[in-house]
């Protein structure tokens, strides 16, 4: 099968129904800051990182890193995943939602084939 499934523990991104939210504005705003672009660059190189790892690698305080990660997450560019006691961050892969949906469709069709 060509599609990949999402590691467990990551929730599909939900969309806000609030009309006042401007998704493109959030993305552009998130990317306007050079420090946040550094965070993106690091995550794209390493795949995932914790806020602590990012703080060690980038010339920013832990507080600043946490704030930038929250802004990137609000814009849908970064997702977090809890693994045990740590929270790891990675770049959002567009299409991961469809991988989950198509997995569900395959299971649905298989259930019917095997059905009563």
């Amino acid at each position: 099968m060509e599609h990949r499934s999402r590691p467990s523990g990551i929730r599909p991104r939900t969309r806000l129904n609030n009309d006042s939210v401007d998704p493109l504005g959030l993305v552009l705003g998130a990317l306007a800051d050079p420090n946040r672009r550094q965070v993106i660059g690091y995550l794209s190189e390493r795949g995932t990182a914790t806020a602590t790892e990012l703080t060690g690698e980038l010339p920013m305080t832990r507080q600043a890193v946490a704030k930038h990660l929250a802004t990137l997450a609000d814009a849908g560019l970064v997702e977090s995943e809890r693994r045990g006691r740590e929270t790891r961050y990675h770049l959002t892969e567009a299409g991961a939602e469809w991988d989950d949906r198509l997995d569900a469709l395959v299971r649905h069709l298989q259930r019917r084939t095997a059905g009563p």
């Binding site: 099968m1 060509e2 599609h3 939900t14 969309r15 129904n17 998704p23 493109l24 993305v27 552009l28 990317l31 672009r37 993106i40 660059g41 794209s44 190189e45 814009a75 849908g76 560019l77 770049l91 959002t92 567009a94 299409g95 469809w98 991988d99 949906r101 198509l102 569900a104 469709l105 395959v106 299971r107 649905h108 069709l109 298989q110 259930r111 019917r112 084939t113």
Partner: protein, 112 residues
């Protein structure tokens, strides 16, 4: 643009029904589905986490093609093709938000 191709273990007729019959959509896509299957018809999807999305059907070609436009943004197209192992389903979703996010990520990488 997001594109996924998958071969489903079912005939085209069955896959079409799974994509267009609200009762079947409720078994894999969303918890509560309303769908008026005709161009211009409305569709509503509700999930158990409270998320709700609305769409307008733009294209209906039975057992072959279904397209709709999300009310918030983006467009989804399903295309069904016969395959030796069942049905090949192609899903294409385009959304201005995603394409921009991806383009900008790519350019951020190029200049990193």
């Amino acid at each position: 643009m997001i594109r996924r191709e998958i071969v489903l273990p079912a005939p085209r007729e069955d896959v079409w029904e799974a994509l267009t019959d609200p009762e079947r959509l409720e078994e894999w896509f969303a918890n509560d589905v309303d769908l008026d299957l005709r161009p211009g018809g409305g569709a509503s999807f509700r999930w158990s986490n409270g998320e709700e999305r609305h769409a307008t059907v733009t294209e209906v070609e039975p057992e072959r093609r279904l397209a709709f436009e999300w009310e918030d943004e983006g467009e989804v197209e399903f295309t069904l093709d016969d395959d030796a192992d069942g049905t090949k389903l192609t899903v294409v979703e385009s959304s201005p938000q995603w394409s921009t996010a991806l383009d900008l990520q790519a350019s951020a990488l190029a200049h990193a």
